[in-house]
């Protein structure tokens, strides 16, 4: 049994999470499946929806780098932005290789942290 306060410790400790978790998020996926099924991938609406989801994920990325939480908050802003730039440059330099970009960016972050601070 959990030590969580209020409703969260009741109903075995799982049902509240099922209700506020699964039931609160899953309908969005079902709606997407029903709408997306009959949409032509070459239609303007589809191109727009694709652009919206790309912007959302790109926004998530920017938020994580610009307003870091947890351990990443210990890295200075120049270190974070510089490391992201190095990662992107390496990704293109190695002909869009995902592993090369991520590795170079992460090494740049550590180098920046220990050299610049």
């Amino acid at each position: 049994m959990s030590n969580l306060p209020g409703v969260w410790g009741t109903w075995g400790g799982y049902l509240p999470f099922f209700v506020a978790g699964f039931l609160a998020s899953e309908p969005w996926r079902w709606a997407g499946a029903l709408i997306g099924r009959d949409l032509d991938p070459n239609s303007e609406v589809f191109i727009w929806v694709r652009a919206v989801s790309s912007a959302i994920v790109a926004g998530l990325v920017a938020r994580l780098v610009v307003f870091p939480t947890g351990a990443m908050a210990a890295m200075s802003a120049p270190t974070r932005y510089g490391a992201a730039a190095v990662g992107i440059a390496a990704f293109f330099a190695f002909r869009k290789n995902l592993g090369a970009g991520v590795l170079a960016g992460t090494l740049a972050l550590l180098a920046g942290h220990f050299i610049i601070g």
């Binding site: 959990s2 969580l4 306060p5 409703v7 400790g13 509240p16 999470f17 209700v19 506020a20 978790g21 699964f22 039931l23 609160a24 998020s25 969005w28 996926r29 709606a31 997407g32 499946a33 997306g36 099924r37 949409l39 191109i47 727009w48 929806v49 694709r50 652009a51 919206v52 989801s53 790309s54 912007a55 959302i56 994920v57 790109a58 926004g59 998530l60 990325v61 920017a62 938020r63 994580l64 780098v65 610009v66 870091p68 947890g70 351990a71 990443m72 210990a74 890295m75 490391a83 992201a84 990662g87 992107i88 990704f91 869009k96 995902l98 592993g99 970009g101 991520v102 992460t106 942290h113």
Partner: protein, 229 residues
């Protein structure tokens, strides 16, 4: 069945491995705020989305009401609607009943979505649904293992290492998106999202990703049309 196991191999790909690094942090966080190991493992199964898991665990730890927690989680999950719409053309060429589609879209979340967009086009149409199910189940398996590891190893990793592990996630998402972008609108959308989100985050916390998506995506679509004309 072969397509399923080929899909599960995605759990060893770069986006997935990087996700696990972030999940280690979630596991440690879940323990810190007082969830049992069972609850920490239940959240990824229910939600299959790291940001929503952190939001929900945080609300539970602070004793928030069920309604407030459900609203916050639902806001982080709105993005699954457009993401599911985008992946659907790859998932509907199968011969099974339609409700199978409603089951596999449970795995729509950034990492599985990106892996789906990268890998589905290379698979034959009739096995794509099963292949996608394999990707989802494979990555969920890795997610549960990392959650347990992070929960049990909480506080034993030096901070610089934790920071490096966390940093790989946004970088991987960004690079994988550039890799899968096809049209001009896709490229414009990535730039617009990166530029708009920090401002939206300051001015409209809670709704920031929604606003970023609608404003940035619409702008990108208009620019993309204009460039085609």
């Amino acid at each position: 069945m072969r397509a399923f196991w080929q899909g599960t191999l995605a759990m060893y790909g770069v986006p997935a491995l990087v996700l696990y690094a972030g999940i280690l942090g979630y596991g440690a966080f879940a323990r810190e705020v007082g969830l049992t190991l069972g609850q920490a493992l239940a959240l990824p199964i229910f939600l299959q989305a790291l940001p929503a898991q952190v939001v929900l665990a945080d609300h539970a730890a602070r004793g928030a009401s069920l309604a407030a927690a459900a609203l916050a989680v639902s806001l982080t999950a709105v993005r699954f609607l457009p993401m599911t719409v985008v992946i659907m053309p790859w998932l509907k060429g199968h011969s099974g009943p339609r409700w199978h589609e409603l089951l596999v879209v449970h795995f729509v979340a950034v990492t599985v979505w990106i892996e789906g967009l990268r890998r589905l086009p290379t698979a034959p149409a009739e096995v794509r649904l099963v292949y996608y199910l394999g990707i989802g189940v494979g990555i969920l398996t890795g997610t549960l293992a990392s959650t347990a590891l992070g929960y049990l190893a909480a506080g034993t990793v030096p901070q610089w290492m934790a920071a490096a592990l966390l940093f790989t996630m946004p970088l991987t998402f960004l690079l994988a998106m550039i890799e899968t972008a096809r049209s001009r609108a896709d490229h414009f959308a990535i730039v617009a999202g990166v530029v708009i989100a920090p401002f939206a985050s300051m001015w409209l916390p809670g709704f920031d990703l929604l606003v970023t998506g609608l404003a940035g995506g619409t702008l990108a679509w208009v620019l993309g049309r204009w460039r085609r004309a």
